[in-house]
């Protein structure tokens, strides 16, 4: 990605003005879409389209089938009263950034962009920040003033504490009474089983869940040289390792982890997307929304 791109997180992070960043990204992003239909997060019915074998049967219109004996699927369009929760992991591991942007900064910017985008679509958006505990809980609303609250909360966000995703997600899930869209921004540095159990809890409560897995480039490249003494940002534990010797095994383990997470999410009907903190926002949003 070009460094002078307005979607470049390395550039945007220098502005330290989240509303501006969100507006810049969203407007730039939307204008770049031209006449593309905004179907992303909407749930309101728009039209019928003939069923193509292999499509999700959830959207098959059985009433039309009863009347006409033909298969049609329902096509939805934008809806303005969607409730969405953005869950931002603020544990210490999120404070890692091998380059100009930490995962937390990236997550904060991404949360503000998504908030702006949803409010702009008349959707209600809320914010939850957490580490081992829930640090901030803002219920979803669709007003512009509410959006300012979210920005304010995001700007104050600081990393701290260890990750305990499974526990915290379960707790948050109990606090969300109505069916909502849950967007988790985290580096998922916790036990995989706990994470999936936590996310499944949302699914059991009929929430739609999207996991945006944030990783620093160093985490999936390990670009160090020689012997390094690694210190865990959360536990403070130290490990001495010769990077040339461990890199291959590390990358393999990391890939296995990502594959496993992706597979588990798929099995639990959880949307999963991984992004690196050096990936431009428009590119991420574009590819992600397109995939939806």
């Amino acid at each position: 990605m070009a460094n002078n791109n307005i979607f470049d997180p390395g550039l945007l992070v220098k502005f330290s003005n989240l509303p501006l960043i969100a507006k810049t990204v969203v407007e730039g992003f939307i204008s770049g879409l031209h006449k593309s239909p905004h179907r992303g997060f909407s749930v309101e019915f728009s039209e019928h389209r003939e069923y193509t074998p292999g499509e999700d049967l959830r959207y098959l219109d059985w009433k039309v089938f009863g009347r006409t004996d033909r298969f049609y699927v329902k096509v939805f369009r934008e809806e303005t009263n969607l409730k969405a929760y953005i869950l931002l992991d603020t544990s210490n591991s999120m404070n890692y950034g091998s380059r100009s942007v930490t995962k937390l900064q990236y997550g904060v910017m991404l949360a503000s962009i998504l908030s702006y985008l949803m409010v702009k679509q008349k959707d209600a958006v809320g914010l939850v920040t957490f580490d081992t505990e829930v640090r901030e809980f803002i219920k979803p609303m669709s007003t512009v003033s509410h959006l300012q609250n979210i920005f304010g909360a995001l700007e104050k966000t600081e990393a701290g504490g260890e990750t305990s995703l499974g526990t915290v997600l379960n707790r948050i899930a109990l606090n969300i009474k109505k069916r909502s869209l849950i967007i988790l921004l985290s580096d998922l540095m916790d036990d995989q089983g706990e994470i999936i159990r936590g996310l499944s809890h949302f699914r059991h409560r009929h929430n739609e869940v999207i996991v945006l897995h944030l990783l620093d480039p160093a985490e999936h490249e390990l670009p160090f040289d020689g012997d390094c003494e690694f210190r865990d940002m959360e536990s403070g534990e130290r490990v001495l390792a010769g990077v040339p010797y461990v890199r291959k095994a590390y990358l393999k383990l990391m890939q296995e982890f990502l594959d496993s997470i992706r597979k588990s999410c798929g099995e639990n009907r959880i949307e999963y997307a991984m992004t690196s903190t050096d990936v431009a926002f428009d590119s991420f949003l574009h590819s992600y929304l397109k995939s939806r």
Binding site: K103, D216, E219, A241, Y245, Y250
Partner: protein
């Protein structure tokens, strides 16, 4: 291996540097904050062992590299395969037989010493050296080479033939329990003779190297005495001279004894044995022969010979005067007063010392004192002689019993046992005689002319004849018998000198016969002995002291062993003299000692023959002219830095390759850094 600049080796302590670096680098790494160590810890546990191995390889390479560089700086030099300077044992077997003196003047005693000294100069610690001479002397293993050098300087070539098998056995025994390299170096003229009895079929299993340093020359010529001997009854000696070479050569022989000298010239054909007869005026005393042929070995050009010495013309006659009267007269008839005849009665013969006389005449056997037979036996074994007439009144049984000494190992001394007295009805005459026997040889076959008037009225008949019958009656009854006892002889007449028995003592033939008997018994000459060989002989009865005089007059006392024997080894040729002392008497015995005549044969042995005799040894033969070069090559010192330098460069290259291999794994990292 040695070093030109050994002080650089102190820096080898610096080898600990890479080890320290290794340990140091292991303990410290760049501090890096990381979100989670979960995968790093797992990855490290998966790859930690491989990392350790690679680190150890790099450590070893670095250590070797440093080691190589320091060794190069120290200037290493390699001493190539020097068996003379390694941990091991070297034995010089030195052929000091007198043939070593025969190399056209090139391999004399001094030359041999030079060769040995030069070889010795190549020996370095920790090798140990021993010397074994074929003449028998041994210098045990030592690190003190200067002492060995002194020993070499003192030791001249001997007059002996040398015993190579014995020397080899000694050497192998000395090496048997030793460790390290084992080398036998044989310094020899490659003369074939010492190898005759050498046979070591399992030499190869003994792990001993065999080097032969050839100090001789091929194609050399030699002639020498084989022996000189005297034919009894003749007036001369015969000298046998052998031409060992393959060239005809003229020679001159000179035989001298006392106041006279005889010379003769002759031609020696290649390989021929010539017998030269030299008439001599006197058959007593010492005779020295020498030949001059212009050959290259002088040791065998001289010969020492003697007739019966010591007692000279001294004769002891034991018996009643009536019986011995004619014997005394007959002994003196030919030689006049020159021949000393001692008469003694049987009763007075108890204290006699037979070795003082050249011949004993005994005519009274029945009344001899006790112990006389044992005394006579010792006298006979050392070359003495006895002529025995049975006494007039002797009984056969008593005679036989007397001459069978009590000591079991002593045989019956007479040529036959007396049986009984036979009286002839008609006097018998002399019949057959052993005309070629030295007793009758001077009569030139005309014995009968001398004996035709001799008659016999009575005789002793005989049993168990164990000697030679020299004269018989016309009826074939033995009259005179001879038997050898040791180196001496016993003659037995079967009758006494008595008128009732015979008239032989009246006849003119009798002094001739007695004189011939004396010449025969006393003139055979002493045996000759060989230098270096053992001389063993009985000492005369009653001997209290024995002295040995060398040809140079050096005196040495010899000790008798319990068997009344003396044993000695005359080391060089010449006339050696034994002196036996008993009370106030002194008896002298001349021992002519000559070199081993066969040692004059300088024929050389082939290398392949040596290899057969010491099978499996892998024999190396080096000419003396090439010895220095041979030993220098084996001690060659060469600088080996270039080789080490190459090794160091190779190590460096290996390390670079290894480090590059490791670096290639960091490519991902490099790419990531480039992005930044």
């Amino acid at each position: 291996m040695g070093f030109l600049y050994p002080y650089f080796l102190w820096a080898l302590a610096g080898i600990s540097l890479p080890v320290l670096i290794h340990l140091f680098s292991r303990k410290k790494g760049k501090p890096v904050l990381f979100p989670s160590l979960r995968f790093l810890k797992a990855a490290r546990s998966m790859t930690g062992r491989r990392k350790k191995i690679e680190e150890i390889i790099i450590l070893v390479l670095r250590t070797l590299l440093l080691f190589s560089l320091l060794i190069i700086l120290s200037g290493p030099v390699l001493k190539v395969s020097s068996p003379f300077s390694r941990e091991g044992h070297i034995i010089f077997i030195v052929d000091d037989s007198f043939s070593m003196d025969a190399s056209a003047g090139l391999s004399s005693s001094e030359k041999l010493k030079d060769v040995l000294s030069e070889a010795l100069s190549f020996i370095r610690k920790p090798a140990r050296l021993a010397l074994i001479y074929l003449s028998g002397e041994v210098f045990p293993f030592t690190h003190n080479y200067s002492e060995a050098a002194s020993f070499i300087k003192r030791k001249d070539i001997s007059w002996q033939a040398g015993n190579l098998p014995l020397a080899m056995e000694k050497a192998l025994k000395m090496l048997e329990k030793e460790r390290g390299d084992k080398i036998i170096c044989f310094f020899t003229d490659l003369q074939k003779r010492p190898w005759n009895d050498v046979s070591f079929p399992e030499f190869g299993k003994k792990n001993v190297r065999f080097l032969v340093f050839d100090t001789g020359n091929a194609g050399i010529n030699n002639a020498g005495f084989k022996r000189i001997y005297f034919i009894p009854g003749s007036s001369g000696i015969t000298a046998e001279i052998q031409n060992w070479g393959d060239r005809e050569t003229s020679a001159e022989i000179a035989v001298s004894g006392g106041q006279w000298q005889k010379t003769a010239s002759f031609l020696l054909k290649p390989g021929a044995l010539e017998a030269i007869r030299v008439d001599i005026p006197d058959t007593t005393g010492r005779i020295t022969g020498s030949i001059s042929t212009g050959d290259i070995l002088s040791a065998d050009d001289n010969y020492y010979f003697s007739f019966a010495q010591g007692p000279g013309e001294k004769v002891l006659v034991i018996g009643d005067p009536a019986e011995t009267f004619y014997i005394e007269k007959a002994l003196k008839a030919v030689s006049g007063e020159k021949r000393e005849v001692v008469l003694i009665s049987p009763e007075g013969s108890g204290d006699i010392f037979p070795e003082s006389y050249s011949v004993l005449f005994v005519s009274c056997s029945g009344r001899l004192p006790e112990g006389m037979a044992e005394k006579v036996y010792r006298y006979l074994t050392e070359g003495g002689s006895m002529v025995c007439f049975p006494g007039n009144r002797v009984l056969a049984a008593g005679f036989n019993r007397y001459w069978q000494p009590a000591e079991k190992f002593i045989p019956f001394l007479m040529p036959a046992r007396l049986k009984s007295v036979k009286t002839f009805a008609k006097a018998a005459g002399v019949g057959e005689t052993a005309s070629f026997h030295p007793l009758f040889l001077p009569l030139k076959g005309a014995v009968h002319q001398h004996t035709k008037t001799v008659i016999f009225r009575q005789l002793f008949t005989l049993d168990d004849i164990s000697g030679d019958v020299l004269m018989k009656t016309s009826d074939g009854l033995p009259l005179l018998l001879e038997k050898k006892i040791g180196r001496g002889r016993v003659l037995l007449f079967t009758f006494p000198m008595d008128d009732t028995w015979t008239n032989i003592h009246y006849r003119p033939f009798f002094p001739v016969l007695v004189n011939n008997i004396f010449e025969h018994l006393s003139g055979t000459g002493a045996d000759t002995f060989t230098a270096g060989n053992k001389v063993r002989m009985n000492v005369p009865y009653g001997t209290e002291k024995v002295h040995l005089y060398s040809p140079d007059g050096e005196k040495k006392e010899l000790q008798k062993n319990p068997s009344d024997e003396i044993v000695f080894f005359p080391p060089k040729p010449g006339f050696w003299t034994l002196e036996f002392l008993r009370k106030n008497e002194r008896v002298e015995k001349i021992i002519p000692v000559n070199v081993d005549a066969l040692e004059g044969n300088l024929e050389r042995i082939e290398i392949k023959e040596i290899s057969k005799k010491i099978a499996g040894a892998g024999v190396t033969v080096v000419k003396k002219e090439k010895m220095r070069e041979f030993l220098s090559k084996r001690n060659r010192t060469s600088e080996i830095s270039p080789a080490l330098l190459n090794a160091a460069l190779l190590l460096l290259l290996l390390e670079i390759i290894l480090i590059n291999l490791l670096s290639s794994r960091k490519q991902g990292k490099t790419d990531a850094q480039n992005k930044l």
